[in-house]
């Protein structure tokens, strides 16, 4: 048996001081952007009842949740997601929503994930939820907020893919097949698996016109207006047509913000269809292999709590963003040197402490150190110690260098 005393479990990490400061810097930039768009920070508990998450089809598998049993035998889970608790909080604590509610969060989430891919079990998630506004303006603002937060962190090469769940749902409405088969088709489309999709569709009893529409979905990505106008052209029912109109409206507003150059279409974005109900999007940073932002409209979630609240929002995986920032060397100028080192001998003790407090009051970072005996050339000994300034109150003279 290996003694685990000196190790930490897989998927969690210690963060050292300079790394923490850099992470905090990135976070503060994101928070600043969210604030400017009118979001206010909230926090939900670290653990909640398992039933809250198990009874709602969401982005997380119940198998991936960390469960605890409390003293009375109830099953709890460590916060595996933030949106569902916020929906619970709003549905139970806000009787009437007269105005829009705009919330932001910065909080750890816990999921047991695949270590093979360097998966983390505890990671920090940031995000916003815009509640009470059903209009395309809200969706556009949410996407603009996402782009702004990446821009403010210093990223320029940003790519947003936007899709609409109702286009796929609209096709599926026309076809009478088992949910299992629908899900297989959805997965093949999501992975742009052209070869297996056509074989699978051929093996099912589906009308040729619907087969053609479905096999086209994975190709529907790229230039926004070109793709969405094509989609609108192909629509065979109101649901599909409305989804295209909705996308065009959102895109037009993003254009009015001046941000449409970052936005592309991908109608093959159809993950978590039980959760999303409308516009859906993902944000990428060029040359960084995993999406850093994902979000969309989720009007149906509140129905599970017996309320009608239109909702839209997104989450940022700040750990991934931090990795990307490292890759783009955005944090290279970051420097966390301290301001003053105050060296003193027994004679200057009182003077030094008083001086240190004066400096701290005026906002400087100060450390003090008593030196035993005499130092002939303090500049040589302490000159390279990483402080902006050293004050040596040793012997007769007080020198600064």
């Amino acid at each position: 048996m290996v003694n685990k005393r000196k190790f930490i479990p897989e998927g969690v990490e210690d963060i050292n001081a300079s790394e923490f400061e850099k992470k905090e810097l990135i976070q503060s930039k994101v928070k600043e952007v969210f604030k400017r768009f009118g979001y206010r920070q909230i926090q939900t508990p670290t653990f909640e009842y398992y039933d809250l998450f198990s009874e709602i089809e969401s982005a997380i598998d119940t198998e991936d949740m960390y469960k605890l049993i409390d003293a009375s035998g109830k099953i709890l889970v460590l916060r595996p997601d933030v949106t569902i608790p916020i929906a619970r909080m709003v549905a139970t604590k806000y009787d009437t929503i007269e105005e829009y509610l705009k919330f932001m969060y910065f909080t750890p989430v816990f999921r047991s994930s695949d270590f093979r891919a360097g998966g983390k079990r505890e990671f920090l998630q940031a995000g916003i939820e815009y509640l009470g506004n059903p209009d395309p303006e809200a969706d556009a603002e949410v996407i603009v907020t996402a782009i702004s937060s990446l821009k403010d962190m210093g990223f320029n090469r940003i790519h947003i893919d936007m899709g609409q769940t109702d286009y796929f749902k609209g096709i599926m409405k026309e076809i009478d097949i088992e949910p299992d088969i629908k899900n297989s088709i959805r997965k093949l489309i999501e992975n742009k698996n052209f070869a297996d999709l056509s074989i699978f569709l051929d093996s099912q009893k589906i009308e040729p016109i619907h087969k053609e529409l479905l096999s086209e979905v994975p190709y529907l990505y790229g230039d926004f207006e070109e793709i969405v106008l094509k989609v609108k052209d192909r629509a065979i029912n109101e649901t599909m047509k409305n989804s295209a109109d909705n996308l065009l409206k959102i895109y037009k507003i993003i254009g009015e913000y001046g941000y449409s150059k970052y936005v592309f279409a991908d109608l093959g974005l159809i993950n978590h269809l039980d959760y999303y109900s409308g516009m859906i999007f993902k944000g990428y940073i060029e040359n960084f292999g995993t999406p850093v932002i994902s979000g969309g409209r989720y009007d149906d979630l509140f129905k599970k709590f017996g309320k009608e609240v239109p909702a839209t929002g997104f989450g940022i995986n700040t750990d991934e963003v931090f990795e990307a920032a490292g890759q783009y060397r955005l944090l290279n100028d970051f420097n966390n040197t301290k301001d003053y080192l105050l060296l003193f001998d027994a004679l200057h003790r009182q003077w030094a402490f008083k001086k240190s407090m004066e400096l701290r009051t005026s906002g400087h970072i100060v450390e003090t150190k008593q030196v035993e005996g005499c130092v002939n050339n303090p500049k040589e000994v302490y000159g390279q110690s990483g402080y902006k300034k050293v004050i040596a109150a040793l012997g007769k003279d007080i020198i600064e260098f």
Binding site: G118, K192, N193, F194, D196, D266, E286, G289, T290
Partner: protein, 210 residues
């Protein structure tokens, strides 16, 4: 710069031949070379040789933009990537094989030896059969002969190895062939380069099936 992940071996040789056909040439490459990274003559594509079963993870995490991987390793490790093209090379089948004359006893768990525990688990789960998986790293055919397992799940090409060891295919699981996989972000951010390669690979000769 586009990074391509390949598993060393026959799949890589055929892929390279196809790339040559579309005028992508790696001057330093020979199949005997021990180097793991090669850059093409135009200096726009980097070829990276990794273990065949690692192609998926290199592409999923974005270390490589595209890769060529067997459907067998894709089914086993299920990487989160776009699986955009069936290259129609390296064809074989996933199958369940057992010693000649094997009869399943209805109430007993079947012991399955395999290099592909996830594939085996998913297949038998789908069919509602209780099994016990024994993960083996090579010469899977041996396991039933030595009494370590009742059946094996493995890829089968011609069936010669099975026959020589007194095994027969009792169930076919699925077809396997090489796939072109693409990182989900790269497809969007390096679209023209990647679509160029895909288009070229799909229109080049298809007479080299194995």
């Amino acid at each position: 710069m586009l990074n391509i992940a390949l598993g060393k071996g026959r799949l890589a040789d055929i892929t390279l031949k196809k790339l040559e056909e579309i005028k992508i040439h790696f001057p330093e490459y020979t199949s005997k070379s021990r180097k793991l990274i090669f850059t093409d003559a135009m200096n726009s594509i980097k070829l990276v040789f990794v273990k065949a079963s690692d192609v998926g993870i290199y592409v999923e995490r974005g270390a490589c933009d595209i890769g060529v991987a067997g459907k067998d390793t894709i089914m086993e490790s299920m990487p989160d990537v776009y699986e955009m093209m069936d290259l129609k090379i390296g064809r074989c089948k996933f199958a369940v094989a057992a010693p000649v004359g094997f009869k399943k006893e209805s109430h007993k768990k079947i012991r399955v030896a395999t290099k592909y525990p996830n594939v085996a688990k998913n297949y038998f789960e789908r069919n509602g059969k209780p099994i016990e998986i024994i993960k083996i790293n090579g010469s899977v055919e041996l396991a039933p002969l030595m009494g370590l397992a009742d059946v094996i799940v493995d890829i089968v090409e011609t069936g010669t190895t099975l026959k020589e060891n007194g095994l027969v295919v009792i169930e076919e699981i699925s077809d396997v062939s090489a796939r072109l996989i693409v990182n989900k972000v790269s497809l969007k951010t390096k679209r023209t380069e990647i679509l160029g390669i895909i288009k070229a690979l799909s229109t080049s000769s298809e007479g080299d099936q194995l």
